[in-house]
Symmetry: C2
Subunit: 260 residues, 2 copies
Amino acid sequence: MTQPSSRRQVPRRIELIGLRTLPEVRPGEDIARLVWNAAQREGAGIETGDVVVLAQKIFSKAEGRIVRLQDVAPSALARTWARTLSADPRFVEVVLRESRRIIRMSERVLIVETRHGFVCANAGVDRSNVRTRGSVTCLPLDPDASAQKFVKRLKALSGVRVAAIISDTFGRPWRLGLANVAIGAAGFSVLEDLRGEKDASGHMLNATIVAVADELAAAAGLVMKKAAQVPVVIIRGVTLPAGRGRAQELIRPPSEDMFR
Amino acid sequence: MTQPSSRRQVPRRIELIGLRTLPEVRPGEDIARLVWNAAQREGAGIETGDVVVLAQKIFSKAEGRIVRLQDVAPSALARTWARTLSADPRFVEVVLRESRRIIRMSERVLIVETRHGFVCANAGVDRSNVRTRGSVTCLPLDPDASAQKFVKRLKALSGVRVAAIISDTFGRPWRLGLANVAIGAAGFSVLEDLRGEKDASGHMLNATIVAVADELAAAAGLVMKKAAQVPVVIIRGVTLPAGRGRAQELIRPPSEDMFR
């Protein structure tokens, strides 16, 4: 069981364990079974209370979210922007189809709001780690549902109750470099509200809501390097805020967002 | 020694160990000695190759970056914005003094560029975890120098060579909740460039520069909760990109930043 947060339950040690032997994922694959088997095979195991962080790419593949570029007819807008970006117009077309709003169009990058509401470059459409040349992957249609399904399936298979995060690497304004973030979550509250708690000096904390799901995803990113075939990381020993969270709750409402 | 990154050296397990027994830090304190002693006392130890993540607050205190609000005379601008924000005008005055540019002023928050170039709310000025009532802490003047000094002092004390990060919790556009990020760093490259490496499918990766320092800080944030008196986290088992990095290198040049 994931434990409710409390100042008295701060973990002393957290362990991050990367799984290296997940086989190539094909459409329709039972990811929970693949992950469970890999964890057993590698001697890590999966225990109740663990957080399992999974790279979005394996869900994109399992859910058939792969687009063959030869099947894509680019629109005039896609062709125009492809010239500006020096990109394949069919790739730009897929990005536009995955978007519900364009946030910034520059000569270097398209920053969009995905259909889920996440703001990122290229709507998460990606060429890397696709075995089929000339194909791209798109983000899962409903990553929260995918995470929830993973948790339920793993419970059914093994009796073990975990929390799950589906992650992708996103860029950020103001700071260089990508960081791994949560785009899907199940089994815990993605935000931890420390307001109303007193800090060590007895002052009330205010405006202290921590994006626990993103900190977990970033931690997993240390092990889950893109090139490294470590698509799954088990985080053991973390005290999670209780709740039935969804990564959707991490999206800042556009009306409160000063940077769109 | 921190090891250069390589696909063959992906760590299987990373451990995060929080230190709980650091004493209250006073101005002029030798933080390296306090941390070394706490790590010994708690049985964690510190080993060559570890990353030590330290909450900025302990450096702010050690470096005397504490301002008594009774000593602050607010400007007209500070008084005006304090009314809008329902804040103490002396607090707003300290924020303005710590800023070199205002990014957004709304009724809810001041987003500024600090003198170091970091973009965050309230310039990192903070009321929490200050024992002296009516005082606030400011970020260290040069967090990279503070991190470098920590690394050198720990080496001199103990012979152990670590990497260090000084961290603070910042909000982000588009996503709710705070995440711990690096504001100072020493002993490794803060950005890991995976461009030019091939991914598992043999494709070249492009635009894949990972903000390792921020992922390390976020991971530490899981243990280092504000209210919890865990101001130091040791990260053991991580393969760091070699280099003499500074957190300053994480700042996206304003000319390339579409969100200012």
